[in-house]
Symmetry: C2
Subunit: 318 residues, 2 copies
């Protein structure tokens, strides 16, 4: 059985990993993404790391799988990103096939994360699993009967744009009141910054943790301060997690999965995130409508999508 | 090929139909449900009408399918209703097999309606279809790849209990702000009655249409008055339909179906319901997140669930 190479292209970091035929991680190369370098820079790095791992590998590389941190047309196997210049309509799998000589399958990071956790992480053995990635934005993927549900426009699982309210903050997508604008890492950071700006007279713990600079407060500092018991940070995080809880209740009512797996950077907050979610689930269950879906943190941590890319590579290999 | 008998047991009406082996409706018996008669009355009527249709049928009856207007444990093939006394934990399929001598499959009315529209109605030929039944309450079912998604607790598709708000009217399920408490037939009727009571000085058109009696105003009178252009009724119906639109947007974001089919009594309002839904869809779409799911009214009208019961019977026959 050959080995495979998995690639996870994100806006701030990228990872290229060598996996064996059972999906076991052998070696990972990780670096910061140079956004200014655009597509050409990224492709050059993918090629370089691929060839490096190819040399390291005891077995030949049979296939490649790619997780892309942005919209992907799975059917056409191309990046459809309109936000990232240079990537629009780029046939990334065809490029791999031509440049690196192996078959390749490409998907967006939310679907890849779902596949990764389903095959190798917290979703192993479930009949159905919904994966939510909580990062700068919010994405998701639904695996049922071992298969990813893609949907009409390959947009199934887009829980970041669940309509939580008719009004509220404007989301990056242009609509108002999307889940992403209440519960994403960016939303949490922004709420903390707004709070700190309004109360210039006090120095909240989350600002202290970012070295005294309000504009450098992110969801990470809010989570850290909340974990220490800081009441302001706790309140901000709790509210964001409750909105997420309501979003997850929509998932439970619509597809009633065995498990919901929370991945991405914000999910590292663990209990801080899970407690308010369970609070909402408790409030909304009833004898006729029990809520038994298990909500857990991703097992593969920051590597959910990379493992998903490995799963894609194993599929591409056939 | 044998014929089958389909049964649709509802809280106000029941229907027993004879179908041919292609799912074509041959004959239907329809009557009001005597709620005070409870389970025994209903079973006696099912037996009587079944035997009547058996006599009418040119072919032998090969199987029976039942749609039940309340919670059903599909795996256990029993009614789990805790709201309707006498039906709790009743193994309805086993009763049919023993009493009427044919195999039987039972499901709840929302799932049956979904199956009916998918096999014989507006959902024919779709890759995935979400059915919503709008009646006293709101239910739903999701068919993907030709199969009904049941979910962990066979509660997939329960869109009536989508959490639309943290506060708001209390739902029958005990939680606050469920979609059912904003957009169901009962909710529309209740809002109209409350409006009429507050403004005892005027006689709104919807009260006129119910013979001057406020307590007899239902969603039907509100829809009729709205269709005539009455501004109060229009406003009430429009608001309810917009809440529904947001609920359907959650369905679109989570499973991204080819089509959403709206059935049940309230769906007879047609354009009055579809226009505000399309308004919400229009507001929430964006270039990266197009909203291309088609939302249509059920083709089988009041017979979606009965046709679904016929589909269940054909499945039971193997």
């Amino acid at each position: 059985m050959s080995n495979v190479v998995a690639v996870d292209i994100g806006g701030t970091h990228f990872r290229v990993g060598l996996f064996d035929g059972h999906g076991q991680r052998v070696h990972v190369i990780e670096d910061a993404t140079d956004r200014s370098g655009g597509r050409e820079w990224m492709l050059a790095r993918v090629e370089r790391e691929f060839r490096l791992l190819q040399q390291k590998s005891a077995e030949p590389i049979g296939a490649c799988g790619i997780s892309f941190g942005g919209p992907v047309d799975f059917t056409g196997q191309k990046v459809t990103s309109i936000a990232t210049p240079g990537w629009e309509s780029f046939e990334l799998s065809a490029w791999v096939k031509e440049k690196l000589g192996v078959p390749c399958l490409l998907d967006n990071d939310a679907n890849a994360g779902a596949l990764g956790e389903f095959r190798f992480g917290a979703g192993r053995g479930t009949g159905s699993m919904f994966y939510v990635t909580l990062s700068t934005g919010i994405g998701g993927g639904f695996v049922s009967g071992g298969k990813l549900l893609r949907g009409k426009d390959t947009l199934a699982g887009e829980v970041g744009h669940l309509p939580m309210a008719d009004s509220g903050p404007r989301c990056n997508c242009g609509a108002r009141g999307c889940l992403e604008s209440f519960s994403s890492g960016s939303a949490i950071g922004k709420m903390a910054q707004e709070w700190a700006e309004r109360r210039g007279d006090v120095m909240p713990r989350m600002v202290e943790l970012s070295g005294g600079s309000i504009e450098r407060v992110t969801a990470r500092e809010v989570a850290l301060a909340a974990a220490e018991g800081d009441p302001i940070a706790s309140r901000i995080f709790h509210d964001a997690a409750r909105w997420l809880g309501r979003g997850l209740m929509s998932v439970i009512r619509i597809v009633n999965p065995d498990k919901i797996v929370l991945g991405g950077g914000v999910a590292q907050a663990g209990k801080l995130l899970l407690d308010p979610i369970h609070e909402v689930m408790e409030e909304r269950k009833s004898p006729a409508l029990p809520v038994t879906t298990e909500v857990v943190i991703a097992e593969l941590g920051m590597y959910s999508a990379l493992h998903g890319a490995a799963a894609l590579a194993l599929d591409a290999q056939g």
